[in-house]
């Protein structure tokens, strides 16, 4: 029975119909569970019922994952049962459920959003995106480092040269640099000195380049992932064809 449940939960190749149904079921439950968050007044009994029922279902999914974790670890070790509650995904699952049970202060209600982590666990598209980020992690990290360094340097220059009225704190300067680099530019904070204008212009140019780079890397990685999946499928088909002959 546990093998069956394990197959149901880790239906990575979407080969089992019941597994696909279970994936969709949990994803829908996770989405429904956060619907009450979309209303200002979510104290209506219907919302409470929705929250309670969905939390019980998601908690059951947590229990199923716990009871099959030794199979996930592939060494059939009993330690798996002790380790599972402390794994990052299990902690996120529990953190997403606790606010509804009233065991965390109201300020932690936002943690309910962690229930959407289920989408990452069950959705094939989400898993694909995670794979891309994992593979391109180093490249993305170096681009991020350049962006952070640029934000910091331009904010520092701006903070030093601009009048205190424009940039009262360093945090304001960081805020300005971030919105300028990402080409958002709300316009609530802006430079007035000549140096400030020059930095602002350079930031705008840099912003386009730095923001476009990760987008390009992720897109290329995504295409590569899809391509390798296609190739894998073809190879499997050829094998099956060869096997029949």
């Amino acid at each position: 029975m546990r093998r069956y449940i394990y197959g149901l939960l880790h239906n990575d190749d979407a080969q089992r119909r019941d597994g696909v149904c279970y994936d969709w079921f949990i994803m829908i439950v996770a989405i429904i569970s956060i619907v009450p968050m979309m209303f200002r007044d979510n104290s209506a009994p219907i919302f409470k019922t929705v929250e309670s029922v969905t939390v019980y279902i998601l908690f059951f999914d947590y229990v199923l994952r716990w009871m099959t974790y030794d199979m996930r670890m592939k060494n059939n070790s009993a330690w798996a049962f002790f380790i599972y509650p402390f794994t990052p995904l299990a902690l996120m699952d529990i953190a997403g459920l606790l606010p509804t049970l009233g065991l965390l202060p109201p300020s932690f209600m936002i943690l309910r959003i962690l229930r959407l982590v289920k989408l990452l666990q069950y959705s094939k598209s989400c898993r694909r995106v995670i794979n891309v980020f994992r593979k391109q992690g180093r490249t993305l990290a170096s681009v991020m480092l350049i962006a952070v360094a640029y934000i910091f340097i331009s904010a520092l220059v701006m903070f030093v040269y601009e009048p205190a009225d424009n940039f009262p704190t360093f945090f304001d300067a960081i805020y300005w640099a971030t919105t300028a680099l990402t080409t958002v530019g709300y316009g609530d904070i802006y430079p007035t000195s000549d140096i400030g204008h020059v930095i602002s212009m350079v930031s705008s140019f840099f912003g386009i380049a730095i923001i476009a780079m990760p987008a390009g890397i992720v897109t290329a990685g995504f295409m590569e992932e899809l391509d390798s999946e296609e190739k894998e499928k073809k190879r499997e088909k050829e094998k099956e064809g060869g096997g029949h002959e």
Partner: protein
Amino acid sequence: MNDEKKRELIKYLSVMLLGIALNIGFYWTAHILKLPMWLDTVGTAAAAVVLEPAAGLVIGYITNLFESSAVYMSDTIVYYAITASCAIIFGVMLRKKGKISWKRLPTAALVYLVVSSVLSATISVWRGGLPTSEWELMIYKKVVSAGVPEYFALTFSAGALKLADTAVMCFVTPLLYKVLPQSMKNVVHFSFVTWKSPFKSCEK
């Protein structure tokens, strides 16, 4: 699914149902007779030993779901941590090279007693600071009035009730194991490895 597998599944589910019935039956008995114990983990421990720890985890969940939706508030589902610890401690510690070793029962019972008392006190503190059952509250008040700090008083009062629970579990579990036919026992062999290996396999 072939007939043999179907039969195995039916046996497995029967033991699970028995575990749930034991949990709820014992719990109601203790509740109605106002006994100084909970007894809602007896079936969990029995199923974890007879079948496997995973079966205990599911039985525990169903029992806690019943209790939190029919008897207490929905937030009491967090007491599942205690039920889960029961399933894991008894299901794992009593197994030695694929066989049930009853010599390990006292150690498992002691570990469960300590773990469940600490967990129970911690959850009680988290939920508002007071115990849930009347007996526990009475012991707690007496211990606090003797000058013991609140958290230790909670642990002690939970431990007193858990001691009775553990004693019943230590009696019922071997009894059920001996009464049930061999075909209903699913002796799972776990390769107990050193502390290093599981973390290595996690990284993989």
